[in-house]
Symmetry: C2
Subunit: 391 residues, 2 copies
């Protein structure tokens, strides 16, 4: 296994009665806060008022940036960064799901950039080593952004969706209250749950790198947690135990521990990002469609045993099956879970997507190396074939 560095500095307040620590935490960073949020669901569930109360308790001067999109736009990020510069913002407060936190990370970096376009940083044209401090109040169990170093931003002019990374982009403090996810719809719960699983598949479980056995088995336990509790949360949205397990699973799927010593290949994410860049679909739903088809496409004698292992240890596939049959049974069990148990649509055509952009999307997904490498090696032609299987 490879040498690695593990360091995760995010302080997490987890539970029902933790938000009252927000005032003491935020005032450590200064006086002026930019409150970043999405489409207003935080007002519907009463979270907005609670946050404002905390900020007032800390005598903060409050600026607001509402309207973060589900796949956050770089233009919105730029708007936020401009407010930070104009008003001398000290700290950013993201209240929402992964999109809101991702956008906030990009704002935090762009606020320290001499230029005014975050795409310079995201596209690699500019390097900004510093950013404003970030606090997050999470409302959706999915992306892991609450405890990780990255975010994903969309450039709708270029039809591009790209990550922004940096060790200092980890939130300084994150508040995780499972009750804030009680009102998350069955559809968003399902999509978020697939996103959690996809992080484990994509950054560690399906890899050609030598792994640490303890971590592989812990990855399987986190996956089993999602398989167990996502259906419970869909059926009984106010089930605290289910929501809490999903929330802590989302943070640990991508906070660094589970892929200690493994570089991230993220092949399915690279493929899916093209889908949600072109069509603005829900990331987790796109992943649910792509992952089983990707596994079918790359199934061979080398990959079969790891795919079968997933099925045996996570989906209850019969260990007595041979590798090939076991791997096929795994893919079947996964599809059954995503599309029957979680109720997601199984085909891109169900989401109104046809094949007209497949060739371009496939090419973009393989940039800049011209191919995707890791557990499988995929050329643009391969990715286009996978898209067609998903139709």
């Amino acid at each position: 296994m490879k040498d690695f560095v593990f360091s995760n500095t995010t302080k997490v307040y987890f539970g029902k009665n933790q938000l009252h620590h927000l005032s003491e935490e935020i005032s450590r960073f200064g006086k002026k806060v930019l409150l970043v949020y999405g489409g207003g669901s935080i007002k519907r569930i009463g979270l907005y008022d609670k946050v404002i109360d905390e900020l007032k308790k800390a005598d903060m001067i409050i600026y607001e940036l509402p309207g973060i999109e589900p796949n956050p736009h770089h233009t919105t990020v730029n708007k936020g960064a401009a407010i930070c510069k104009k008003e001398g913002i000290d700290v950013l407060l993201a209240v929402g799901g992964g999109s809101t936190i991702d956008a906030t990370k990009a704002i935090a970096a762009t606020a320290k950039y001499e230029g005014d376009d975050c795409w310079d940083i995201i596209s690699g044209k500019a390097f900004v080593p510093d950013n404003l401090p970030i606090i997050s109040v999470l409302t959706l169990s999915a992306t892991g952004s609450e405890m990780d170093i990255g975010g994903v931003i969309s450039n709708v002019e270029l039809n591009e969706k790209r990550p922004i990374f940096g060790p200092t982009l980890r939130p300084n403090v994150s508040f995780l209250d499972p009750t804030t996810t009680f009102s998350v719809s069955a559809y968003q719960t399902a999509s978020g749950s697939v996103d959690i699983m996809a992080h484990i598949f994509d950054v560690a479980y399906f890899s050609d790198q030598e792994e640490m056995d303890m971590l592989t088995r812990i990855q399987e336990e986190v996956l089993k947690t999602v398989v167990k509790y996502a259906p419970v949360a869909i059926k009984t949205p106010n089930d605290y135990e289910a929501r809490a397990n999903l929330m802590w699973a989302s943070s640990w799927a991508l906070n660094g521990f589970l892929f200690s010593g493994i570089s991230q290949d993220a092949i399915c994410h690279m493929i899916e990002h093209e889908l949600s860049a072109f069509y603005d679909i829900t990331h987790g739903h796109g992943l649910a469609i792509v992952i089983p088809k990707w596994l079918k496409y790359i199934l061979n004698e080398n990959t079969a045993s790891k795919i079968k292992r997933l099925g045996v240890n996570v989906f209850g596939v019969d260990p007595a099956l041979d590798s090939m049959d076991g791997a096929n049974a795994t893919i079947g069990a996964m599809e059954d879970f995503f599309f029957n148990t979680l109720g997601l649509k199984s085909r891109l055509s169900d989401l109104g997507i046809d094949d007209k952009n497949f060739a371009l999307m496939a090419k973009k997904s393989c940039a800049p190396k011209g191919k995707l490498t890791g557990f499988s090696t995929l050329t643009p032609a391969d990715v286009e074939n996978i898209f067609r299987l998903c139709l």
Copy 2:
């Protein structure tokens, strides 16, 4: 489950070729370093020279405190703190196992104390909120001190062994190189492995508190990691995979993640600390003798199902057994693992311990509340009975 805060700020360099980062990390904290170590094994394996080279590369002014005892004495801690004050030490560097790191933590706190006796802090007479920064280079997979907030110090005058805790006592940086444990003896590998398992049993797995299912299952995977790799490391001391899995398991058993939301009861540790306070025996070996007898003593209809679950999920006990039979089979499997597979002696009398101090030790283990509470409630009479079962 309870609300909790998770925060772990230790930066870990893990692997074969990481020590060259020591110079850059240590120089962040100042110029004067106190190098703390034990009985000289770090010189035998060449680690001492490598560390000194790194310190010289960083132009550090080096002071040394060798001779940390296996159960570190408070008088040795006081000696270290006196050096820190006299010489104006900026940073402490612990090179060794848990005892060395524990002693270093106590030195780090006492160096900031106006008095000169660490026992004032450990006994609760004085409160010191601050400490010198700590870097550790770990050479034994056992105590988890490399990533946790505590340490244990012995007062040989009082026959007392007590913990010191503090959020700032977590090492700032820890170096974990599995190859430094290649020379660890079979006996110390066995004892250290039991210590790792005991942390999971004692602070989370056997608890009367409501748990998070994901974490219980991850605890089982870390336990299975030890059950799988401790025998490999004993048989083939240079097996990198085995040593690496054990080392990362030791850090995660006690770094906070596995007991998110569960207050630590630590009943077996409280009992065993009396043994190693009175007799200076190896902590992990004492635990191996105490734990199965403790489980036997507290086995009843309430406790049986959790004990059986351990056996089924970690030791391969037949799930078809009823709770009582399954729990008994678990205890038997655990004893077989500790005493046959790992080769540890199974009785206190094998370690030269008789019953003459049992009553006093039992009373001390239950101080200050007069009883131990958690998964089981134990009076001093109960603890004395458990000691007798261990004879």
